[in-house]
Symmetry: C2
Subunit: 137 residues, 2 copies
Amino acid sequence: MTDFILDSRLESDTIELGALDLCRVRLMNDSRYPWLILVPQRVDVSEIVDLDESDALQLMREMQIATRVMLDVAKPDKVNVAALGNVVPQLHVHVIGRFLSDPAWPGPVWAQGEAKPYPSHGAQALIDRFTQAFLAA
Amino acid sequence: MTDFILDSRLESDTIELGALDLCRVRLMNDSRYPWLILVPQRVDVSEIVDLDESDALQLMREMQIATRVMLDVAKPDKVNVAALGNVVPQLHVHVIGRFLSDPAWPGPVWAQGEAKPYPSHGAQALIDRFTQAFLAA
């Protein structure tokens, strides 16, 4: 059996927060939006139908957990939840806190301008808050 | 108890295909992309965390059904599945067949150009194919 390996593009664009039962949880390194990524730790999965039913239902539970954490930590006006995969085929779910005041509102965040990485050590406070919120979820 | 009422913007932008156990299933009236919309028939639901766990798990089952139908009927290169709700707050899930040759690839489809409604009677063949595929799913 092949082991799960995180896609290299996801690895370089995001920061590890931890793992739930199914998914690796990562923070997009883009300070424009509070943006979590859930990656099911399964091999050769691109579409949600590539997950068996048990894993798919667990993914929904973890999408709900991540949405609750996003609402608690970032207090956005809306949460966007999406599995696109046009660029990175490895199944991953975006959970993005959106604000009426953010640069892409009300449009989608993808393919809009350039990511603004967090400054050195600038992500740590947010990482700690998200990590604590997941532990409490 | 208040009855479910489909949001008026969803009503005008989409064509009814039918219903699954939880969701109304509609076809976006935009011939640029094969594009299904799932609308959970629940009142006052905007975020996926507004669904109780049983409904949320059923939504995932229906997202898998709609994705399978999309793959069968349209044979796209990728399926995009997303709950955004920045414009229409009533919870709805997009299930969009994407092609390397489509006008927005690899970007997202939202907020890209103008919808191209199907010509009169031009949607009927597609409606029939989707409806048959959901009945067989």
